[in-house]
Symmetry: C2
Subunit: 411 residues, 2 copies
């Protein structure tokens, strides 16, 4: 069976019909709709010389044995956020299945090739993303912390997993799955506007951004909006406003795809008759280079302290979360670039702002690369998420060529 990229588009549409509704994709992990998607995928790959297994973390693996026990892994995730898009995650499971069928029909490959559908990439139900891939990568979070999590209906995470045959205490045993992996390839929609703005269908991903996430709290003095002269105010909102504008400048002068976002501000007392006493700001900063990320953080702290001095207010920083940048494999980046150029004429290298299962696999030491295909209007996590059919077909072709090039290199 030769590669048929148009079949991938047809199958993705079929999956959308099967597991979506008028509000979008509903393949939330640890639900019946997700199980329906898994069963559907298994059916699509039935009848080929593949071994199917589900590991201790609920990840679904198809294995095409090769002449060597070393393994090339293609991975994606069937789960979605509620009211999600039709492509986020499942694109690479379906595209990977097309590549796997093509390889299976050509006989024994030089190395073993596996396709994995990771469990709970989104963390939509329990707020813990990258569950399956982090279990396989050996970096699963504190089990006690996971044990305490409940969904919106009060169902405990261990109970929800158990209903799907997963024992939280044994999920970490999935780490055996990556023992022989020597390359990991993942195709994903970009979820951003860069490729569309460059009018390019495909790009190769250099790695995932490091993230620094803080709550920055400015504290001034509540005072009557009518009786307090402007020059006597200690307005916490002025600190927040200046920081909001400054972080853009910090990102621009840092360059290299740097982004800084103030995603929210909470003002107290927050009434029209009072100067703002406290302004709590949510700050997210991302960069692919650890030094640049650290310096963006230092610059934002310095600026906030200067604003606090000048406004006669106080500022306090509290880290919410952070993760280091994860770089993909140089050799695989070169191969991905070649594959994209062959199918689309031009390639483009870009970092990934969002995290992906590929980041967990790369952290585990497996040489990794990702391909991005253009997202229309940069939208994702909404039913409006879309990618042109011809771009999906080019993406399947690029993934197929990248797989072939990687196999040749490993052989």
């Amino acid at each position: 069976m030769p590669l048929d990229p148009s079949r991938t588009v047809a199958e993705l549409r079929e999956l959308r019909e099967l597991t979506g509704d008028e509000n979008g994709a509903q393949r939330v992990c640890w639900t019946e709709t997700w199980v329906r998607a898994k069963d559907w995928m298994a059916e699509k790959l039935a009848g080929h010389p593949l071994e199917l297994e589900v590991d201790e973390a609920g990840n679904q693996w198809w294995t095409l044995r090769g002449r060597s026990g070393r393994e090339l892994v293609l991975g994606g995730h069937l789960d979605s956020v509620p009211h999600g898009g039709w492509l986020d995650g499942c694109l690479n499971v379906v595209a990977g299945s097309e590549v796997l069928r093509r390889l299976a029909d050509e006989g024994e490959p030089p190395v073993t090739v596996r396709l994995v559908s990771w469990a709970d990439e989104e963390g939509a139900r329990f707020g813990r993303s990258l569950f399956g891939s982090s279990a396989a990568a050996g970096s699963i979070a504190d089990q006690d912390e996971l044990r305490a999590r409940r969904d919106a209906d009060g169902v405990a995470l261990p109970d929800a997993l158990a209903a799907h045959g997963v024992d939280l205490d044994r999920a970490g045993e999935a780490r055996g799955q990556l023992e022989n992996a020597v390359a990991y390839l993942e195709l994903h929609i970009e979820q951003g506007p860069v490729l569309e703005s460059l009018d390019l269908p495909l790009g190769v991903v250099l790695g995932t951004f490091g993230v620094e996430r803080h709550q920055v709290t400015f504290r001034g003095q509540a005072a009557h909006a009518g009786s307090t002269p402007i020059d006597k105010r200690r307005d916490a909102l002025a600190g927040a406003a200046r920081l909001e504008l400054e972080i853009r400048e910090i990102a621009k002068r840092t360059g290299g795809g740097a982004v800084c976002t103030m995603g929210g501000v909470v003002t107290r007392p927050g009434i029209v008759t009072s100067v703002v006493e406290t302004a709590e700001c949510l700050l997210d900063q991302r960069h692919l280079d650890p030094g640049a990320l650290a310096s963006m953080l230092a610059d934002a702290k310095d600026a906030s302290e200067r604003f606090a001095r000048e406004e006669d207010i106080e500022v306090e920083w509290e880290r919410i979360w952070n993760i280091e940048p994860i770089l993909f494999d140089d050799a695989l980046i070169e191969l991905a670039d070649e594959a994209i150029r062959e199918v689309a004429g031009t390639s483009h290298r870009l970092p990934s702002g969002p995290l992906h299962d590929a980041a967990e696999v790369a952290r585990a030491g497996v040489p990794t690369v990702m391909l991005f295909v253009q997202s229309l209007r940069g939208l994702s996590h909404t039913k409006l998420e879309d990618t042109r059919a011809e771009h999906i077909e080019l993406a399947v072709e690029a993934l197929d060529r990248l797989t072939t090039k990687t196999l040749e290199r490993l052989a």
Copy 2:
């Protein structure tokens, strides 16, 4: 009985003991504690040749008949916010009672002198401030709107008033009370930091600010904080931040005591992983000059529209409330200035940011002036509100002299 300003301080302290607790003053209108304050005040004035009556709006009036039926009125309010300060409102009722006792002991004055304790200046329980004075001024709000109001426990406003002998349908009949008034004097704490910063005990108030209150909503586009480059964002918070900083410049260049306040911002979706889609800002602008107020509003609108264009977002303005500036009487301002200079050496003229009962009386056409006494740290509506005892005594003396000067002028 000669004027004894130290007695005013002692009586204010007595009232604090009687009607406050560890959280501050609790003389909320239409409560038992407020009744206790009213009864206490009536007792303090008993035994003097005064007529006491309560009008249809619940205002308490003491009348000292003079040789003429024309009336000079001194006014304040015994009610406070919950957990309020010991001086806000009751200062002038207690200081006025000292002046009234002094006058009563001196025999029949040239014109009639009255002291009024206005009902529900604060509107703390039902959110409608200046209730009693607006009833007397003939500018009481829509009765149907008042009828629908309920307190936090679900008690309807008409029922609460009825429990204190006030029939909402007849409250407007209180307007007869100001028919013969030819001057209105009110002493109040400043509730702001201006006099303290000038190291002055007393000031004369030029009028109350006009107020323009709006909700300004900026609308951009929610977008992934990791995957959306800075130059591709439509960040609603950037519009809000720029407006917050711009309104200060508008107030500064307008001068004349102009104030502009962004009292709160609500950001949506308001999460750390998304660019802000909508930012709803509460804007309050105040000035004593109607032209200056209108131009501050126009400047803020223009600026917001420029920011919206430059940030590729939208902006929408919705008026919450407004009131025109209310100017006090020039001749009374001169007399007040003289009185203050005589007791304190130096006077200072300043506008009032907060509204007061005096504004309602002035709107009704009665020549009006107010005296402000210094507030420590500009604080009010909190148990931390305070004024030095020696400043309270100076204030009583200034009010007494102003009353004498006004009587001389009217005679």
